[in-house]
Every structure is written in structure tokens, then in C-alpha cells.
Amino acid sequence: MYYIDPHIHMVSRTTDDYESLAKMGCVAVSEPAFWAGFDRGSADGFRDYFRQLTEFEQRRSGWYGISHFTWLCINAKEAENVRLSREVIAMIPEFLDKPGVLGIGEIGLNKNTKNEAIIFLEHVDLAVRTGEQILIHTPHLEDKYPGTRMILDMLTDDSRLDRGRVLVDHVEEHTIRHVLEDGFWAGMTLYPVSKCTPERAVDMVEMYGPERLLVNSAGDWGPSKPSAVPDFILELRKRGHSESLIRRVVYENPLTFFSQSRGFNFTPPDAVVATEFPPSSFAR
């Protein structure tokens, strides 16, 4: 079955991972900008990162027939530095018309601080002014519940927002209902220890249905599994769910959400007549 991983940090993964994903049926990935594991010292550091996201990763994924899309921002953790954040936000419009850019993300909160909230609101304002979609990171562990509620407060306060163009990611059992009831898309992240397991993600599909629901691996530089979405597919099959339901969650839903972005240029694999891998694929 074809699937799309709507949240995966491929800059942290090897080319072998692209190959494995392709073999498992992955046909597209979307990669939000995130924290690299260390705080960057200047806006130029982000400029290079955005070039990597908008130029090199597309080429690398293309070696295996995977379409690569991306989202740009300064992440919630580094947003604590307001001055640097404002420099990065001012630079983002330079990249918004690059091929494959889907919008602003992953913005959000980390420790639910004042500075994080201020920079989150400034990102949202940029997205609204430039007509971009938004992908949102919600905090981890004990901070997730209050942080998610704060994020929803800020989003629902803004009457300019089209809620159907906003994805709130990393939902779990205590936050998914709030996100869906407020009219946003919800993303479930499959992570080995924190966040969600494939089994619990399937539980949430059973409890809330497939409407406006996505599932992703968020594979990154930490302990994570880039092939987690196929684990979710297998769990749905083990429980006797239909192939049409599976296809909806892992393929059609991402297509529906991403199709709202002007940067989403995607040819479904079943519409491709002949293989279109670039001839000199592996040239460095």
C-alpha cells in the first residue's frame, strides 16, 4: 500500500532510510523545520538549514522516487530567544515560493513560556498574512496537556485562521478530542517511548474515526523509528480493519490536507506511466 509520512525529519536520517521507506510503500514525506539537538547561534544557521530542506532533501528523496515537502520556522525550543526568532521569521518569506514548501511549521510550544507564546503568535501572523498552511508541534509529557490547550486558545482567538488548513501534531488520548472538536486536523506521532504507539494510535482511530486524522513517525536524530507508519498499517490489518480505511488515514488524508497548499505539487504513483527516477540519480 502507498503511504505518506506527513512528519519526518529526514535531515537526521540516512539515505538508507529513504531506500527502506520507498521499499515499504512510502511515496511522499513532509519535513517540518525543527530543533537540531543544539541551539543555533545565528539566523544564517537557519538560512543554511532552510536551503538544505528546500534544495538538497528533495534531491536525496528523489533518488528513491519519494516526493519531499517541507515547512519552515524557528522551532519552539529555540523560540525562547526572541531576538533570534524575529530574525528568522523575517527571513522565512525568502523561501516560501521554493518548490515543495507547504507552509509554516513546526511551530508551537515546548515549556509553555511567555517567549514561546509570543513567537508562536508571530509565526501564525506570518502564515495568515502570506496565506500559508500551519503545522504545529505540541509539547512533550507533562507539558503536553496545558500546552496544547494554550495553543488551541491562541488559534481559536484568531478569527482570520482557516482551521481546516492547520495541523496540530503529536496528539494523544488527552488532547485529540480538543483538537478535533475545535475543527483542526490532528496528527498522531508514533514514537518508541514518549508520544504514541501504533496500538494506541489505532485505538484513537477506532474511538474518533478517520476524519481529519493523520499518522506520522516524526523520525529524527533521537530514538525513533522512521518506518513506524507501516507498523500502524499492520496493526490496523491485525485488527481486521478495511484496506479503504487504512488507505484513507495513511494516504488520502495527507493528500487532502497538503492539497490546500500552493507548494504541493504531487503526482500520485498510480498516475505515473513510466518510472521517472532521474537518470543520474546518485551523482553528488
Binding site: L121, P146, M150, D157, S159, E173, D203, V205
Partner: protein, 88 residues
Amino acid sequence: MSTPHTAAEILEREFLVVRAKLLETAAAFDRLDRAEGSVANDPRRQELRQALDVLAADAPNRAEKLQLLFSLPYEPNWRKQLNVATNK
């Protein structure tokens, strides 16, 4: 929407998995008891004990209840506390 399987089928499929997870939990508590020192006053130890009560209760949505047990509270007036204005 619900699961296509019956409760009996789910129990058949999941019994050994749940049994194993409960044994891991029991062994972790034993490990804490065997170790030198005490964590009796550590709030995390109290949370774990409360979590066991949630599991033992005959009530639905245990996963959501556990998540909330391990969460910080949401303060509806957080904007005022942090002095953060909103986009309109």
C-alpha cells in the same frame, strides 16, 4: 466507529501482551522496593501508585485518565498570567 473484533477475540490476542506489561510494571515496583533509600515522598512515586488505582477501576477511558494524571494542569487564564496578547 468501533473495532471489528469481539471482546473475546481481543482478549485472546492481547492476553499475553498485557500479562507481560503488567509483569514488567510489577518487577519495576519490586526493584524500587529492593533498592537502598526511599522514594516514598517523591511525587512521581505517588503518581505511579495513583495510576495503578486508575487501572484497577472499572471505568472507561483509562488511557486518557492516566495521561491527565501525569500532566500539569491547564490554567484558562494563562494569557493574563503570562501577559500575552492574542492575534485577532
